[in-house]
Point group: C2
Chain length 197, copies 2
């Protein structure tokens, strides 16, 4: 059991953070970036979708890499009345190295995202695994950042994916790097329904 | 735009990880720990709740610190038919330093969690912000780890909270450390409904 000094130090740290949080009094449509190699980026975005639905807000989701339509997140969240759900990885050919087809798919996907970024009825827009399209050079970073910047002022956007480019980190209000300390797949455990998909 | 060498390296890295994931073929009730100071730990857990509901699974959630009952996650997920939702921070006195009362509340909370850890109808149990109770010495780590270890073999458990103790990290299948690179509250922006609560 920790000694009292340890408890006091932890409580003091928590109090400092709590005080800074209590002082914060502004509202803003946030840009949140969840990056890093660890488990939890997309699931965190979907948790915010769930939270938003609790207030009756409308939400838009674009999945840029996935092409499967049987994930738990889509079966549950994608079927909610206040959710607009787009699976945009349809036919992605990352492994076949057909760069032209990939770029065309990416650009089509971004057109869908852009519509959501103009729709001020959407409280939250999730751009799931967008970073890959930027890192592979399939979308123009400057154009993407400009479209993000001109969205409605109260609209929140969550972007997920490994290795978020610097321009996104710079313009983001909140950035979390999800570090992979340990992952079950390295012990031979496959993706589990309800957890990973 | 990245050169082709960059793209090839990224694709190769992704292929190595994808191959390891493809080789993984076992199922197991996972223990996942989401720790670190950044935004996204609890929301990630709630995303896994949403995914699980997509498959029709039953889920149990215990919130150990929160006492408020008006969060987006509870309003939406807590009202789903397949969800058992417990807010156990009721009357927590962290700031008043009434250690005995805190310990009693923590122990009552753990009794609720233990019942869920014995219930093999629950696909997923979320123990939200449990780490604080362990770090403050309000719950016995050895007892908690032993209760976790004796849960049904197929049951997934997600534990969230800063500074997860080593014993939890050791027994976990998946550990993500959510690093706080940047957080909106430091710019004076308060917790946003649908994002932070």
């Amino acid at each position: 059991m920790p000694d009292n000094g340890h408890n006091r130090r932890m409580a003091r740290k928590k109090a400092v953070v709590d005080a800074a949080i209590a002082r914060a009094d502004q509202d803003k449509g946030l840009l949140l970036v969840l990056t890093g190699n660890g488990k939890g980026k997309s699931s965190s975005a979907f948790g915010m979708v769930a939270r938003s639905l609790g207030y009756g807000y409308k939400v838009g989701v674009a999945q840029f890499l996935k092409s499967r339509r049987d994930t738990g997140e889509e079966k549950f969240l994608g079927n909610q009345p206040n959710v607009e759900w787009h699976v945009l990885g349809d036919g992605f050919t990352w492994d076949t190295q057909d760069r032209d087809a990939d770029i065309a798919t990416a650009k089509r996907g971004w057109e869908v995202a852009k519509q959501m970024l103009k729709d001020d009825s959407l409280h939250l827009v999730v751009l799931d695994e967008l970073t890959y399209l930027l890192n592979y050079g399939y979308l123009d970073k400057v154009q993407v950042c400009s479209d993000l910047a001109s969205r409605p002022a109260a609209q929140h956007v969550v972007i997920t994916g490994r290795a978020a480019p610097q321009c996104l980190l710079d313009m983001a209000d909140t950035v979390s790097e999800i570090r992979d300390v340990k992952h079950a797949f390295r012990s031979g455990i496959r993706a589990q329904p309800g957890i990973d998909l």
